[in-house]
């Protein structure tokens, strides 16, 4: 199984901070395989690390690249991509 990547645009109106960052890191951790997230061409960080995710300073409309490797990588990235494109602050 080879490494797969996906680039998505952030839908959350407050970017990837507090609550969305927590939901995202939690989901990445639950996936159980190594996943990284990078902002634009920046260095990738562990997607299961809430501190790593927050410190990227990702804002609404930014593009991020997810990379996963291992069993179920495709499904894991589907879930995470959906989380990132949803506006969690809309409610």
């Amino acid at each position: 199984m080879s490494e797969i990547t996906r680039t998505v645009r952030i839908g959350s109106s407050h970017g990837l901070h507090a609550r969305p960052a927590k939901l995202f890191a939690q989901a990445a951790k639950d996936a159980g395989i190594p996943i990284t997230i990078a902002k634009d061409a920046g260095a990738p960080v562990n997607a299961a690390s809430i501190l790593g995710v927050i410190s990227l300073g990702v804002e609404h409309g930014d593009y991020v690249t997810l990379t996963a490797d291992g069993d179920g990588a495709e499904a894991a990235l589907d879930t995470l991509a959906e989380l990132l494109t949803t506006d969690h602050d809309a409610a």
Binding site: H14, R19, A21, V45, N46, A48, I50, I54, S55
Partner: protein, 556 residues
Amino acid sequence: MAQLRGVGIGLGVAQGPVARMAAPLPAPDDTPSAIGVDEERVRVQEALAAVARELEKRGEQAGGAAQEVLEAQAMMAEDPTLTDEVDSSLAQGKTAERAVHEAFASFRAQLEAVGGYLGERAADLDDVAQRVIARLQGVAAPGVPEPGHPFVLVAKDLAPADTALLDLDQVLALVTTEGGPTSHTAILAREKGIVAVVGVAGAADLADDETVIVDAAAGTVTTEPSQEELTRAENRANARAAAAGAPLTDGALADGTPVPLLANLGNPAGAAEAVALGAEGVGLFRTEFLFLSASSAPTVEQQRVSYSELLAAFAGKKVVVRVLDAGADKPLPFLNDAHEENPALGLRGLRALRASEDILREQLTALAEADQLTKKVGSGADLWVMAPMVSTVDEADYFTALAREYGIRTAGVMIEVPSSALLAEHIFAHADFASIGTNDLTQYTLAADRLLGSVAGYQDPWHPAVLRLIREVGAAGARTGKPVGICGEAAADPLLAVVLVGLGATSLSMAPTALADVRATLLTHSLDDAKRVAEAALAATDAATAREAAQTASAS
């Protein structure tokens, strides 16, 4: 027994066991580990997991938005990137405490560098770091204590973040070693009706679980109280609770002179409580709440809805609305984002509004519309509108003329600057009324920044210089037949309220919880008494002796 002195907030008295709010832990020393990498790693893992579980548990108890924050903090404690950093520090021979401290500090620096919203998360991170280090060192975690029984909270001073976590039902009284009568702690105590004595330097030595009597009326904290003292305090607390149930009569002196008692409100949602506590109207409605959370000004329509809600809640009564008071302690990005060396002396209050006149015009439009709308449906109030931080006669002329242009019938100014107090008679040539903001008037008279802890001792409205300025305004009001209200924290101090009436104040506005004590105290003084008590205070040389002189004169 021993007595520690401070500044009392209100007239209450309470007793109970002390629980201290632990001070932040210092950074752990960078000494080499004495027990080896493996042992240190076990210690770190245990501490991080324990703190994470505790935060999750607190989250479950709190629920709602607080749960989200606490769960995010729990994730920070067990963050894989963080544990990697800790591990590499441990491998260099550092102690668990130091490794945790350094790892959190490095993330903190990253978050702060990003700034803005993320910068605020730095405080969450600090809290987690402090909890982990406290656990490693086997000491109490800093922050609000949770002893599991009602307690007297002893702290340096309370920050808004602390009070948000505070279970007020468990707090018997508040004692702070720093902070003055306008500190965040004092304002909270007044709002919630909690017995408090602030600025008690000697309270730094109080120990956990030691029983104390906190007497706000006397401004004292009694340590090692005798059984007799405890009984007396309890009787007084009971008597006061009974007095709070006294009938809600309109404010008046013993001789029948009316002194309307009004409420200070920061949100229409507070109206019901104010009415229940007998407020005869609103003496100060702060409109900042509409603006503070916004990055741009609210629309006329949003404002109109809020103002209409407020006016309808006080139908048939007086409602004094203050237009936006931004700057100094409450900066607004769309109004003034220039950095100022001395914001209290800068572009704030009416000065800022005059520089962004659109915002003022919109606010006056919304107020006039809300006034007309509520009157049309029969729920109109007597709307008065005033401007903050007026420092010249020209500003009084400018604001009142503009307000009348929009159909505001009663337009006035706040007197918070000595220049306005001294020229009050000229200001009354334009203004229909004046309302004295004693907090700022004290700050500007004593030249002491009210937000600065190191000069908090100057922030006492009992200072005779402040009282003399108030006398000027009272006399000018009497000569011109214009009302002079008080809407600072001073009006909530029952004896000072008597002095203010003696100096010529015609109405008093305060936090609604202070109404009962002030109402009861006014009823025991005639207008002649009030003038005599005021004279005694005016003749003093400083705030403390003014307070004592008034107490003596009031008792005779």
